[in-house]
Amino acid sequence: MIGTLSKPSGLVYSTVIVLLLIAPVVISLMEHSFYLDLLTRILILTIAVVSLNLIVGYGGMISLGHAAYLGIGAYSVGIPSYYEVFNGYIHLGLAIGGSALFALVTGIICLRTRGLYFILITLAFTQMLYYTFVSIEEYGADDGLVIYQRSEFGGLLDIENANTLYYAVLVVLLLSLYLMHRLIHARYGKVLFGSKHNDERMQSLGYNTYQYKLSCYVISGTLCGIAGFFLGNFTNYISPEMMDWTHSGELIFMMVIGGTGAVLGPVLGTATFLFLEEFLSSITVYWHLIFGLLLIALVMFGKGGLHGLLSRMDRRWEKSQ
């Protein structure tokens, strides 16, 4: 997955992973808990971007509604907590079941369309969910709900502790990256890749591409639901705003910046996006403008995103050997 350590890409990725592993220790020495929050947020959203990358980068299905699953995952923590059910297995079960179901039902319909229509329908379904939660007064409507206590996992895991939450998210992220790596090189991934590039041909070869895409869509939604579960726990707060379409758009940006279709791209893309946002907003109130221009530049000139850049450096490095 990472390749040779001495290659530029290997060097960057392994450094990033080592930094992520030791970050909580360093941060606690510096006593800057703000940075741990930022990193946790990055990791959680990276899981979401990994899931988006699966359907876009491998399945060729561009979704502008992925924030729905962040919302479903977060509400799976918030609603039970509202009824004083704090059992984390129930929360996680609901997040997984709920997002898988939502992906299945919406996927069955979305996948009957293509291209722009597909994008618009994914957006429409998420907007429907958004307005549904806006209209439920019981769960705070527009304002959402505060989560007073994080999911409980018996004595096994205490995610009230910021470091524990961080490591739990990191483990899930690394597992999902490894899963993606295996998946895309396995038979399943080859079928997805084939139908992304030539669906007609794949059907003529005997593949029910609709089913393969649908299953991919469900896997992706479920993984993003897990990210939502962490997001709810992390922010201690849920609101329909989490499902706003701008967040779906941000996930796409993060993916594109990292490099669509590259297994490790989401790590670079999400981190770059959130660090930039944090940094720029701290130096000027006009940061949105600069941020927007930077994003445009990255998308226009950084073909293949940051991962693409690293691959080009790898090739140059190989030649020089």
Partner: protein, 244 residues
Amino acid sequence: MMLEVKGLHKQFGGIHASRDINLVVEKHGVHAIIGPNGAGKTTLIAQLSGALKPDAGRLRFDNTDITHMSRHRRAHAGLVRSFQITSIILPMSVLENVMLAVQSTEGHSYRFWAPVSQDAELKEKAMQSLSEVGLGNRADQMAGEISHGEQRQLEIAMALALKPKLLLLDEPMAGMSKEESANMIELLKQLKGETTILLVEHDMDAVFSLADTTSVLVNGHIIATGSTDEIRNNAEVQKAYLGD
């Protein structure tokens, strides 16, 4: 009988691309379909393979009614097509393209873990199909980077890897050089013994050297079916097609 087409109709707006097509393809040998540009040959192939839905008519393949069978099921049943306009997966290697075809014959592909690149058996079977069409030495090149003629061969290799009972070939020689065409004709002659072929082709020399039976399609309708000699000497055919 391998395939039976009854009363097939297909209209695109005002264009009647298939009108009351009746056709029987016997087991073994080559059945050619000839006809001028725009006669409806590709439209017929598309309906046989399930890519297009007929407006009316029935299809029987290998003793099963397949009129409403989906495209991917037909492929598994042994009804396999190649495309007039090369249809391969360009950003994959030549070998990987054929491996996808082989993979399709080995049950479902909901396998998430084992890397395909280490599947020696899959590779070997794919290599066999590649060697059969003479592309063995191109295995590791990207499908988008080989010559047009080679892409046509790859197209056939993918179809062959599915072990078809009936191979629907839509102008396999289109755009090939003389030499490549000659090689393709040789290949089809070999295949003749193993599988049934429905061949759509413009090149008359190819048709007359390969076909056991030939049907002539003009304006969406089959105006004659017969042996090569019969077709050659058929006055109506000469007027409609061979004359020009």
